[in-house]
Amino acid sequence: MKQEAFIRQAQALQAIALLLLLSQVITDLLPATAFGILVALALRWQKKLPRRRLISLGLLSLWAINQLIAGAAGWLEAASNLLWLLAALRLLEANDRKNIGGSGLLLLLALGLAGLQANGLGASLLAAAAALLVLCSLLGVQQSAEKLKLGLFGQAVALLSLALPLAGGLFLLAPRLPALWQMPGANGASTGLSDELDPGSIASLVQNDSAAALLQLKEIQLPPPEARYWRVRVLNNFNGRSWQPGPTAPLEINPLPVLASKQQQHWTYQGPKRNTLPWPGVGTPQDHKQRINRNGELLRASNNSYVLLKSTNQPSWQLQPPLTIQSQWPLGSNPKLEALARQWQQQYQDPLQRVAAAYHWFKAQGFEYTLRPGLMPTQAPLDSVLFEKKRGFCEHYAAALAALMRASAIPARVVIGYQGGEWQPTAGQLQILQRDAHAWVELWLPPGQWRTVDPTAWIAPNRISQGVAASLSARDQEQLGRPVLGWFNQLLLPWQKLDQGWSEWIISFDRAQQNLLLEKYLGPEASFKAIQILAGGLCGLLFLGISLLWRKQQLQKGDKAKQQLDRLLHYLAKKQLQPIPGESLAAFIERAQMQDIRLKPDLIEFQDAYYRMRFHENCDKKTEQKRLQSAVKNLKRLRFFAQGS
């Protein structure tokens, strides 16, 4: 069947949209999916497509193979890959108006799904371009334009710009429901913080500039830089080389309900999905569904935004006695480290003295803080860190100190999270980036509580007080991606600012921030008022639209003189006075006034005004129109007493 030009055109537009979409999720695209889609699109282009069902079957089986190969791929990845495949297939099969609409919808759904994975400014702009193309395709199909015209894009842009304010209003005001169900595999993401610490396997650390979390303080002092430790995950299990979380920690006993404190920390987590969220280790979650476990990890409830209330009690997780796993030490895994620990154990009875010994030892060794420590040997990697290479970053030192302490019979664990953050005075918030990721140690020390010890602070105090950049050599700073010189980065700066603004204002605008904003402007019961405003706004818009259309209709009826003439004729017709075909207005009016002389003044007035309005170029139309109106009105007031004279 020969397809019409506009269908082919819409297909082409949607194909470009699909490619745009795929380009931004290219890393999540399973290779077979990508290959399948590209082959199918290419075949379609060349019009060498075999029977459609065959292709569909082929692509779907490709996807199934994908899933088998990928195996542990998360549900999100699987679902989005399937959706992209379906969108591509639907696009290939779209050979009429209806199907183009359907494939456009699938593309939009896929766009939304892609937005879960990539939501930076660049990705969002690409998504917007793709949405624009889909819109163009829908418009084009309805207009059935044979040639692609630039006007179509203009129309799509106009449509979008009309819809954007409305969408913006909805975004700001529409109530956000809490999550309806827990998404499976929410901790599947791995960038930023990883759940395993294997410092020996990292040759150089690439710093990630993306946002991790945002902290806003209410009537509470910002802790000094050296006290900004935001814990996320606790690693209990050590196998001689790497640290892992170990068995799931039981939940803490439900804390006593606290009185609502005005001293609050408002957190917004902006990183990839995790089950545990950053927090300072003290305070009580406002949401009673949000729990803390015995490791001192704050579990994700439903939302990435959460409020912590200040509490004066010592957090109970600090007092939880160590488990056996927190003292376990694989004998012989790092012999030199073990020997040193044994020596301290014999030398100092008091665990605090052993920690002090470690402090002095670390200070004396001349360790270098670097992001490029190089790989460590698989055999006794921590020995290599401490006694040979003597270089590394927080993970190396935290892993080594925790191991040293365990070997000297002090229960120890590694904590990973963030340290520091950039205070933004104008916004009144602390922005924590992924590059602030940090690892430190917790030791079980007398009189019986977990205490924080950070070996990185011993080696590179600047890392703790001034951030990563301050503690690095110039060579390492380059690796941070923020060289002091470099015109290219200068050019990129505005873009980075925009990107930052986008993720700060749009991407991280969630329920908590919505509530904050609404309460700021609408006062108490803000969400209820917001719904009222929204409903009012929508009604107003509806009214505005209808009245605009109505006005347009009235304008198109146009010709006021004709309207008045119609009124007059309608009125006279009731009195059996109708113009004879071919009769002029003047003749008709004369005939009418012959019938009833009382009509004469108003009819003369009407005729004069009518002729002036029709034929007199410089007359004041409004005055004449009023004359016409009043003449008709006066006539209507008269009563006909007799017909004929």
């Binding site: 359907g102 949405a131 979008l160 009309l162 969408a167 999550a179 329920r511």
Partner: protein
């Protein structure tokens, strides 16, 4: 010239409901909202809200596509039963092109196509199954522009009538030669002498009516035109005995169609109808109309 009716579509006549795509669109928007809420991510949320906003906007834009269309259509149609008899609708589109669908009656065949700005003639298909005078069903005009999310339509009472001749289905009929049939030798068939035959030298008693003015103007001298009616034998068509009425009417209609096409001379004699033989388009129309309206 047949009489015409006019109408300008105003918003007051327009109905509007979501199309199938519109329902799906709303569902996808809802799905994106749930997705955004559940994963606390804003891109799907924004997309969902944008889709909702577009859908709301589309209500007005869709209603706008029918507003201001001007229609003109004939009040009288004539044609055969059980055959396509399109209503020639004159449609004036104020601006922009749009995809419209037109349909006469709920069971009528749909006309779909692009209507561009300006005036165009659209044959809206219609077919009546039985002979007689039919009132045309209501005309429905619908549109889904600009996005296909809403379908808006108007229904227009046309106040037009269609006269349908019996369907021309060949069958057996009686053909009685005429004038023998009536026995009146003097009676002449009602023939319109319309076929030009030849030119003859003009005689003054023929009057100026038959003068070949063209030849005269060219200076070829005075000639008069001579017309001749077809020489074929005139016949009277009557139904065969024992044949069902409608079947007989169909057969006669078919024969009339055939005879008229050949320019032959025929008359009708059945029940109340008694039409003298004749030929020409007016005669044909008279015969067929009487067949159509036969009670």
């Amino acid at each position: 010239m047949t009489q015409q009716q006019n109408l300008r579509i105003s918003l007051r006549r327009v109905f509007i409901l979501p199309s199938a795509l519109g329902w799906l669109w709303a569902a996808v928007g809802g799905l994106l909202y749930v997705m955004g809420v559940n994963t606390s991510s804003n891109v799907p949320l924004i997309l969902g809200f944008l889709m909702l906003a577009l859908q709301l906007l589309a209500i007005f834009l869709t209603a706008q596509t029918l507003h201001g269309l001007q229609l003109q259509w004939p009040t009288q149609l004539e044609g055969w039963a059980a055959e396509q008899l399109p209503l020639m609708l004159q449609l004036a589109v104020p601006k922009g092109s749009r995809y419209l669908g037109l349909q006469l009656g709920p069971s009528g065949q749909r006309w779909e196509g692009i209507c561009r700005a300006g005036v165009q003639q659209i044959p809206v298909p219609w077919q009546g199954e039985s002979r007689g005078l039919h009132k045309l069903p209501r005309l429905r005009i619908d549109s889904q522009a600009p996005l296909g999310l809403w379908v808006c339509w108007v229904r227009i009472q046309l106040n037009s009538e269609a006269l349908l001749y019996p369907a021309p289905i060949a069958g057996a009929i009686n053909e009685i030669p005429w004038p023998q049939a009536s026995g009146k030798q003097q009676a002449k068939p009602n023939i319109e002498p319309h076929d030009f035959h030849s030119l003859q030298p003009h005689r003054p008693e023929e009057g100026p009516q038959r003068l070949a003015w063209k030849q005269l103007a060219r200076g070829h001298g005075e000639f008069s035109k001579r017309f001749e009616a077809p020489t074929a034998q005139a016949v009277l068509l009557t139904p065969q005995m024992g044949m069902a009425k409608e079947q007989a009417l169909n057969a006669i209609a078919a024969r009339i169609k055939q005879l008229a096409a050949n320019g032959e001379c025929y008359g009708l004699q059945l029940l109340q109808i008694n039409i003298k033989p004749g030929s020409g388009s007016n005669h044909r129309r008279e015969c067929l109309r009487s067949l159509a309206l036969l009670p």
